[in-house]
Symmetry: C2
Subunit: 207 residues, 2 copies
DNA sequence: TGACATTCTGAATCAAAATTCATTTTCTAA
DNA sequence: TTAGAAAATGAATTTTGATTCAGAATGTCA
């Protein structure tokens, strides 16, 4: 009985924490970190201002923790999705697909990831453990290595290709999200994938 | 004589204005827009806080003007440099070269461009004319169009390729700048260019 | 040189919002 | 049921930093 109740308490606690994090992500994404007031988030989450400080040290901490949970969740989803693909090259392509789907459904997440991800170098120095994209890059690089072993990729530089893939996706999605969806994501993705696959040179073309 | 003196005055004025802009760029780059105090910039520029307001309406205005001058200057330099190349494909490659050189010399400019560009999405709504990267992208897209006409590029999508080029460069340089130069820029650039030129595929696939 | 204009200064003002904490509400367990 | 613990509240406090402006410094020119 004690056990049950105690776990119920934990549940409730984490529920409140969770509500705050969700509200934080959405509000940060919509208004930007600095324009978001703690009271905005509190209202959104249905708690009092002070309650936020029971779960998070301060506003910076809230940003970091929110991001961390967001990334963890998304990376997990991404892994599950890509694991289904037969070849590693296809998993790499799936990386794009996943984000297109995700951001089409929730553009504010695109904005959050693309914009709030970038903090000043001072911020990074203050919180050296805050390396939000690193896990993403690492995962990408693992896929690339495997795809090379598999023989479907030529011997390109792993880091360079991961930068191309991540950087392009990130930039295209930022443009798309901050400019109010000025183009269709899906065909754009196809065109980008085509270039990354086959290169831009005319000479290689054989038709 | 009066003419001479008056122009000397203008000179002096623009010198002070210039000092403020330079200090602004460097400080915004290091700390981010919102964490930068006007007093930081003033101190850096060697003027009083109030002086800043003689040259700029407010903090927003200062950011916009700083960015504008930075971009204009750099774009001008870039144009002059690329104009020397014989083919448009080579001009495209030069686009990378230029930024590698620029950012190696002044990493904080890389940070400013990459970070403030993003953080300032909030400015897009408030100041619709503030579209700092647009001119860059437009220039890139012009080069791509010409290169296609020239026959050195296959018929790739212009916007897609511009996103790949700009996004990759932007991301790689941001990584490089915020992580304290963890790799050599020049070889990294070569590896990236190789992939963008020739694609990542081991075997040319037809699908 | 001296009257006037221009430029600069930085302390004082003011607003916004992060954070705290005395109080209230809710929960726990005997 | 109830005393005590834990969690939550939100008004009050504090911090922060943009902006102003009265006065000082400097420049102009007859």
């Amino acid at each position: 009985m004690a056990r049950y109740q105690s776990s119920r308490v934990v549940d409730k606690k984490s529920q409140k924490r969770c509500a705050i994090i969700e509200a934080a992500i959405e509000t940060f994404a919509n208004k930007g970190f600095h324009r978001t007031k703690i009271s905005d988030i509190a209202k959104h989450a249905g708690v009092a201002d002070g309650t936020v400080y029971l779960y998070f040290e301060n506003k910076d901490d809230l940003l970091i923790k929110s991001f961390d949970e967001l990334i963890s969740g998304k990376l997990e989803e991404l892994r599950q999705l890509t694991d289904k693909e037969d070849t590693y090259v296809n998993r790499l392509i799936k990386f794009f697909d996943y984000h297109v789907t995700l951001f089409t459904a929730k553009p504010y997440i695109a904005r959050f990831m693309a914009i709030e991800l970038r903090q000043s170098s001072e911020f990074y120095q203050k919180y050296p453990d805050y390396q939000p994209i690193k896990r993403y890059l690492t995962y990408l690089q693992e896929l690339i290595e495997e795809a090379k072993k598999e023989g479907n990729l030529r011997d390109v530089d792993t880091v360079a290709l991961s930068y191309i893939m991540f950087g392009t996706m990130d930039f295209a999605l930022t443009e798309w999200a901050t400019r109010n969806q000025p183009f269709d994501l899906l065909p754009m993705k196809e065109r980008i994938v085509d270039i990354v696959r086959n290169g831009m040179y005319a000479v290689k073309k054989e038709d």
